[in-house]
Symmetry: C3
Subunit: 472 residues, 3 copies
């Protein structure tokens, strides 16, 4: 049986001289604390601090990277326990789910999921067998035993993982109750909310009117008018700041930021709130306007803005009907940034009160648009390789295409983005290894000294994320 160990030099480059330098760099940064300013772990996880249910519920069911790969080979998500919202059956036996996953281990070859899962299984849960149909039960038992241990509860893992600070993602309408509880427990500086108003940005969402009503409710501001709507958003931002938030997050389809004339926005808002329809162009214009208004408010309250554009959500309507959102059927589209961001950057891009971090899953814009933008506008930081690009090859290409124009110091440093809490250390570790590999190349090509490489690696892993997300 093949051994299941984490090679100390995994994901470091070769040949031997590059590996040696990369190792020197990596060793200096591997133990730095983790700054986790963007993620989708639910605040309840930390507020309630309950034990995770079982291996499948911890590692498979909430991780769309995992179940999408099996789905792509014909294993329906329901067979992996992904709950259906259409009333159809879904596997409930976690051991069965786990066996299905282990039997498909081969499918993850060459993917970052494989790297993360290996790291989690070996490093976090002490597994020493390669997943397979034969080893599934033994591994299940080993992970289940860990999960039952109080040392593996979420708050304990915050320490074990050396997480200095972690942000959750919270709807603008969230009352932030869990964060209040965390603050009461002394975790208010360690688990922070992030303000995400996306549900309110798109006028054609079936839930838009309900969300506008909820916004009024939670803010105590009448949202019957566009001005009231903006005022209520401003009030919620203040509440988030009060609760420790450092940032807002915006997951639009396009990066458009053109402001609307207030009169036009008022009329459109009122029409839709009254039950009228908005055209596709109006929907997009309103969303773009919201980004502009959010930037305006960031200048006032100092929240760092994060823009994550370019993903067409719920590409398969049948999968969406069966399972709902975030089920692996979100597909990127080409993302124009230069013209789209111009209104926002032209107005706020040189304002010292403003900071925006730009992400993309369209890597063609790194060298063409994002690096030139980040390399000149003082308000802009270029976010870390995101989602599908949070991978060894994706990160390498990011450094190769972005750094020459943006430099290292206009990057945000590493930002992980995951729903899978246990994968966080693996993701940071991988980034530190790939960073070390890239920097080692610069050293060996005499483009950087070793001392500079070590300092830069530490900046990317720790100091830059901390600085980039400091409230202005």
């Amino acid at each position: 049986m093949p051994s299941f160990v984490l090679e100390p030099d995994r994901a470091l480059p070769f040949p031997a001289d590059q590996r040696r330098v990369a190792r020197e760099v990596y060793d200096q940064v591997k133990d730095l604390p983790l700054i986790c300013m963007h993620g989708h772990v639910e605040p309840e996880v930390f507020a309630e601090d309950r034990a995770f249910a079982d291996p499948a519920q911890l590692l498979i069911v909430p991780d769309h990277y995992v179940f999408r790969m099996l789905a792509s080979q014909g294993v329906e998500p329901a067979r992996l326990g992904v709950p259906r919202r259409d009333g159809g059956p879904s596997e409930t036996d976690s051991r069965t789910i786990w066996r299905t996953f282990c039997a498909s281990w081969k499918l993850f070859r060459g993917t970052p999921s494989r790297y993360w899962l290996e790291h989690e299984l070996v490093e976090v849960f002490g597994v020493d067998q390669v997943p397979s149909a034969e080893t599934a039960d033994a591994i299940y038992d080993a992970v289940a035993a860990c999960v039952a241990d109080p040392g593996f509860r979420p708050r304990a893992l915050l320490d074990r993982f050396r997480i200095e600070v972690i942000s959750t993602t919270d709807a603008a309408t969230s009352p932030l109750e869990q964060h209040a509880r965390l603050a009461a427990d002394g975790l208010g500086d360690r688990v922070l909310p992030t303000f995400r108003p996306d549900a309110l940005a798109y006028l054609d969402r079936p839930t838009w009117r309900a969300d506008v009503a909820a916004l009024a409710e939670v803010s105590g501001v009448d949202t019957g008018s566009y001005d009231g709507f903006l005022e209520a958003l401003r009030a919620r931002r203040a509440a988030f700041v009060e609760a420790g938030a450092l940032a807002t997050d915006h997951g639009h389809l396009r990066a458009g930021t053109e402001p609307m004339e207030p009169a036009t926005a008022r009329a459109l808002y009122t029409r839709v709130l009254d039950g009228g329809a908005a055209s596709g162009a109006e929907v997009e214009a309103f969303a773009a306007n919201l980004l502009f208004r959010m930037a305006e408010m960031s200048c006032e309250d100092g929240l760092v803005m994060q823009i994550h554009p370019g993903v067409l959500r719920d590409h398969s309507s049948s999968v969406f009907a069966a399972y709902g959102a975030d089920k692996g059927y979100d597909i990127p589209v080409a993302t124009e940034m230069t013209a789209a961001l111009r209104p926002l950057l032209d107005r706020f891009g040189t304002d010292p009160r403003f900071r925006v971090i730009l992400f993309t899953v369209d890597e063609t814009v790194y060298s063409r648009e994002l690096a030139p933008i980040a390399g000149t506008y003082p308000s802009v930081r270029l976010g870390a390789p995101w989602w599908f690009l949070d991978s060894p090859e994706g990160m390498r290409r990011f450094f190769e295409t972005a750094v020459e124009t943006a430099g290292f110091y206009n990057l945000s440093g590493f930002v992980d983005d995951t729903r899978a809490f246990a994968s966080i250390p693996a993701r940071h570790d991988l980034y530190r290894r790939v960073t070390a590999g890239f920097l080692a190349r610069l050293v060996l090509e005499h483009r950087l000294s070793l001392d500079e490489a070590v300092e830069t690696a530490a900046d990317l892993a720790y100091h830059l994320p901390k600085q980039s997300y400091a409230r202005r």
Copy 2:
């Protein structure tokens, strides 16, 4: 005089440790049979099994990779024997053509054509001199001697090349006579037709009405109405299945797949058939509709669908006027896939009866669109690097950008696409070498074990193409 040999380690990576691992992987797969499910060798070649005319007619005149490179330096295609359809003169002396080619050997530096031609000349024809003005005649004589040998006839080469199965490309209106002859000769399982209805897809082709008439003729179905047109296509597909076809092939400009309302399609079809004009938008809509209908029929008859979009054909109207189609003036365009394929995937992408293989010459869509699509839709396989990308660097980038998201097992494995029969082994060999190099890197970075790498290489070279093209 420099020696002309094939280095055993050509196209394998260095440094030495990577080359050693790559060599180990390559050695395990280099002798696997060839699966050639997409190509443009004419069925007559195998049906008639005549000797090739001479070196120029075998290696230069039919290969647009070769004559386009000389054209780009001012050598008109006619000087290389490419026939003119405008009545202008074209070189007919094959030895003269061959001399012009050999004198321009330098132009192929750094191109895959150079790799293929070296492989063909040395490995297939036993040439041992580097092509040049001085060596042209000697090489011509050596190749001519081979070509005259019965052991170099097409059917003999099928064996010599270890081709297990090869597909031709056949118009929907083809009566498949050559394939009938091949079946009679016991080659029906080895040389297969592929159903290509492109001539019928674009309403503005000058030949469209004639092709619709030919379709009626060959199918025996009245194509006077849109419904009859679809019925005739269905009948031809059945005839192709009967003749051993496994797949259809679609070379559209755009990847649009939006179905038309049947009433709209009927009216448009009738109007154009009656001599009316279609707008540009209507032409495109009808082509998109045809892709949707073909997918619908694939669910019925199990033919695997291949989509090859994104090439603007006959970019130079003067070259087209002089020489006709496929003369090196086909230039790729940016290809949007996420939105364009949505109607088709939304309807058939999770249907177990359906299989589609997607190709592109716009490599920006690998990481942005195609890998995310192939990495979640069970019906989709991502085709091999195609056309200009069927090259060492193109393949390497393909693996680096597609595998992390799609995994290896949502790839089609290698699919060659050539008119130049003698280049087929070279193309497969190059793919196996580049694959081995990529896998060796994963092994050395501890991202894959050597055993896994060997198994994956064999899957990519042989098993995946076979599985991907298995009729559903």
Copy 3:
């Protein structure tokens, strides 16, 4: 204190065997003369041959690569001495500017500016200390001492830099007085003008009418009509040819080349000249038409055409208002070439009298559009990696993505593009190193012999630029 030396192997690849081969190739080309056919050094510099003012005025103030990087970290351009046109204050003390720059040396890590500046400081000015707040004054003094030396005057540097020929960029309306003076001094064959009619191409430029008037003035041709306008352009081109020009240069936003109907163009020209407005579409159509007409004239007078499309100029209106053009706020956009260039290439692309060199800052078009176009149209050469892409990684990607389809001999070879005169040798040196590294890889993968690699490197560095810019 860290030593500040130029490592002999800088920017050469490793491992050792690749470096050894790269070194062999590089050594054969490193001393070839420089062909500098595209740049923005002012002709006055050579005509007047005055000493440069001081280190800051030589190396920082005119170099937007340098001051944009500091601007991106919040150091306003005015603090670096960039003059304001809005009347605001700007630092005038060059030593202060120099200190600010040296204290920010860290920001240039990983950028080509770092490589160029190191080369300039060490090789040209003999500096031996790493720039920092502590070393700023000593370095300033060292560079200032050089600058005061007659051996560092512009004409002397032409020799020291081994510049065989250098082109300036001159408005179509330039009277070419400086070039006349250069010719009188025997430098007419060494410092050449380039014809740049961009100011006349865009009907919506505030200065358009004034430029049309200036065109009439300098050409002596009445520009009151569109036909007169074309005639005046033709006259200026003749004057440029007379003054030694080999090329024209066109920096359009889009690559569109569709000709307008003369009647339409006439009416539009007259309307705008008479003070009327042009729509956005008309402005773009007129600019596209101008490219077509310039190609037409190139067939007559043999000037090589250069097209540099795809940059949205002056992205920040506030920076433009404060500082004017070319201040680091020019951001690339996605650039469609296949359809846009079709009218021009269809008409002139196979004409032996015509030569066009195509540049891009959208590197996605290399493998998708530009290499296929350059690899078939005899009139086309693919320009060198431009602007943000004139960097180690940018050049490497260029070779990896363009050469397999275009070959080496459809490339222009190296073309530098700089306002910073003293950086020219560094840029050519870097290109020669990166070229050597790429070719060494081909040698080690047995895709090219060492002799071929050496010849190709010399062609790319020297012979191809000379041939590409030879008047037809």
